[in-house]
Symmetry: C2
Subunit: 440 residues, 2 copies
């Protein structure tokens, strides 16, 4: 059997501890599968004294991850600290510069500096793997980078934030408010004390930007994403969606259009009988539509120490199985210097169906006015309905729900703006885009 | 750029023609992704004169695939002829013996000779890839072999035959008989003129045997699978399943049990709100349950020239990216000589829930007798119900539906045998196993 692959692990939180445990308990199995043992010979974390329930006494300890990247006797640097800044950035850069392979689970780092790091890895002839950075345990990076070679991707979309999906699922199943479900998610550890990063869609955007690059061969453009979170979704929206045969999911969608690549993260209505509509709770799902393969959907755990560690381990195993002299699979699907410049598809030109919920004064002519404003903007309606009033509803207001056939964002915004000037609208209109899977 | 990878394609049916087309039209894209061009320099098929809508004039023609494997100037032999016998077997063996890499889409060949061929590939230091052999375009082989490295799999199951899933879906959605839907599937080209291989479950069994080996590290045992097809499934079963919150799918299931590895292919009731229950028509799905990752489900096209060609292309690309000196990923997940002997888990000891449909004479005491026979066999019932009679039902008979809590196959068979001796049963009892996803 060949020499052991010596790895250094920076970050011993949930994922890091899980990884150390698996490397120790499955050492024999891994050695058989990879053709050589994998041994963590160096570890780094902030607090050496903390009890993590793992034994790292056999590994060299570094207080400083950058030091470990520079000096540890390792071939592979595993970055599990998170964050787009230091020490993650500097340590990964130091490791690659030194000619070490790198495995990272850090979506923020890749969203910000992925291309730069991939260029460096290719210059140094080493591997940069990051399966765990998007949708946790779901092997979507490998699918895009390897299985779909030769395919032209037209759309990639998915449920990539467990917190949001947990909240939306609970709201629907238990008929609870957004606020109640958010608190429940926090209590269960599915949401952070400051949940903004998840519920505003930023986390999904980071992941989407990485998928976009792999799917379309463009540079990573994480700041160029249309973003809408789920804080504005009410139980009323969810119930109206159900009545119309839809569920609401926070999707990240990247799509090739005439004007460029659309990248958008927003609450989305998906048909109730589609497979992705059934993905509940903290589970993630990613769909890829491509011209040769067709539609591929992958569903699995998007977070959690073990699922993430499993993806990291798969990346490590791929490196253990490789050898000097082997051709490198480009980290981002094609050589990083050959990525196209990202050209943004403007949200204004987005085409699709829309759900529009309006609270209006209960008076004659409102229906006609709404329908007229839609027609003036060439929007054809699939349905227009008045929601049955609940006991609590004030008599003088009613809810009007519209579902449009395919139209453009621009037309919808024009129509809604026109309706807003009419004077019968109460509160803000709710507009939710509809996304239809090609199949499934 | 490195030298081109020269490949020979044996078999120019739908998949082969699609592959040739893609290699030609995407040549530049593939060269960038793989670091070198991929060129089909040799082809083989039975009839040289047939018009396949592709240009193979630049490739050397072989009437005999074995000749091509032995003598063509190629590094990689692509087998797309199908069948477990010759010329597929001899040509793949000749190619591996000569030190060529092999990509095949041939499930029958692998089910019969997969271990022998993997041993040969490993002796010769070449790659044997077969992503397209199971579930078409779904990258389940790569997931099991690479992404799940280090995981212990507990169960793998899936919808792996599009013909059966098409028939079952049509029966449910259109309330049609099995026979009508089978004819429709034949008319649309989803089913062969002789459909036995699909509808009796043999096709699923071949695929399952390959997944079992990758999941559990045991030798391929395609002849050691409990097999039940869908010919016995009536619209009445499907409707009763729907009333109870289930759908009926033909699943292949491999599961680790105390007595060995259960491999079974049979109609299965899955909960209506599970993700896999939503997989309709010719679409395939494979779920993998493992201890570190959790549950991973992949859904996609299981057949068709393009989807299959896409999987073959992914395999070819992996080989194009590899280089002499690279460590080989063992074809079957671990070195083929180190696979464990397959120990069969007996169907009699299968544990799970059951759906039992009995047509009985409409007389006093029948319900009590059925319930008693169940209790005598320690079977606890989740529900027992009488189906509403339709207009056509004869007055003197009624249908009794039982759903059991988890029990054993042995107990169910004992109880049903006891009921059969009572004299009130009309026709044969219908017994369908229930399978529950852990999540999703």
């Amino acid at each position: 059997m060949a020499d052991a692959l010596k790895i250094g692990i920076a970050g011993l939180g949930t994922v890091g501890a899980s990884l150390v445990r698996v490397l120790q308990t499955r050492a024999d199995m891994l050695a058989v599968a990879c053709g050589r043992p994998i041994v963590a010979t160096a570890v780094s974390a902030r607090d050496r004294s903390r009890d993590r329930g793992i034994d790292v006494s056999g590994a060299q300890w570094f207080d400083d991850a950058v030091e470990m990247a520079r000096h540890a006797d390792i071939e592979l640097f595993v970055e599990l600290m998170g964050g787009s800044g230091d020490p993650a950035y500097s340590s990964v850069k130091a490791a690659l510069s030194r000619g070490l392979h790198v495995v990272t689970a850090n979506k923020a780092l890749l969203a910000k500096s992925g291309v730069e790091l991939a260029v460096l890895a290719e210059e140094k002839g080493v591997i940069l793997n990051f399966e765990a950075a998007v949708a946790g345990g779901i092997p979507v990076i490998k699918a895009l980078r390897e299985s779909l070679t030769g395919n032209t991707v037209s759309r990639v979309y998915g449920i990539m934030n467990g917190t949001c999906n947990y909240i939306l699922t609970r709201m629907e199943k238990e008929k609870l408010s957004f606020e109640t479900c958010l608190k429940e998610a926090q209590r269960l550890g599915y949401a952070e004390a400051d949940p903004a990063f998840d519920i505003e869609g930023n986390d999904t955007a980071h992941k989407l930007s990485i998928l976009t690059t792999l799917a379309f061969g463009t540079q990573i453009a994480a700041d160029d994403i249309y973003l809408e979170g789920i804080t504005n979704i009410s139980l009323e929206d969810i119930e109206a969606a159900a009545d119309l045969g839809y569920r609401i999911k926070l999707l990240g969608v990247a799509q090739k259009t005439a004007s460029g690549i659309e990248q958008r993260v927003h609450p989305t209505m998906v048909p109730q009988d589609s497979v992705i509509a059934q993905v509940d709770g903290v589970t993630n799902a990613v769909a890829i539509e491509s011209d040769i393969l067709g539609e591929l959907l992958m569903v699995g755990p998007g977070a959690g120490g073990n699922a993430t560690a499993s993806a990291v381990l798969g990346d490590i195993a791929d490196i253990a199985k490789s050898r000097p002299g082997a051709q490198l699979v480009p980290s981002l699907g094609r050589p990083a210097r050959q990525l196209d410049v990202y050209k943004r598809g403007e949200i204004q030109s987005h085409e699709g169906g829309y759900f529009i919920r309006l609270t209006v004064q209960d008076k004659t002519g409102v229906f006609a006015s709404i329908a007229t404003r839609m027609a003036e903007n060439q929007i054809s309606l699939e349905s227009i309905m008045q929601r049955p009033k609940s006991h609590n509803d004030k008599a003088e207001r009613q809810t009007v729900i519209l579902v449009t056939h395919a139209t453009t964002e621009h037309s919808v915004r024009q129509a809604v703006a026109a309706i807003e000037t009419e004077g019968y609208l109460i509160g803000k209109p709710q507009v939710i885009r509809i996304e239809r899977p090609v199949a499934n």
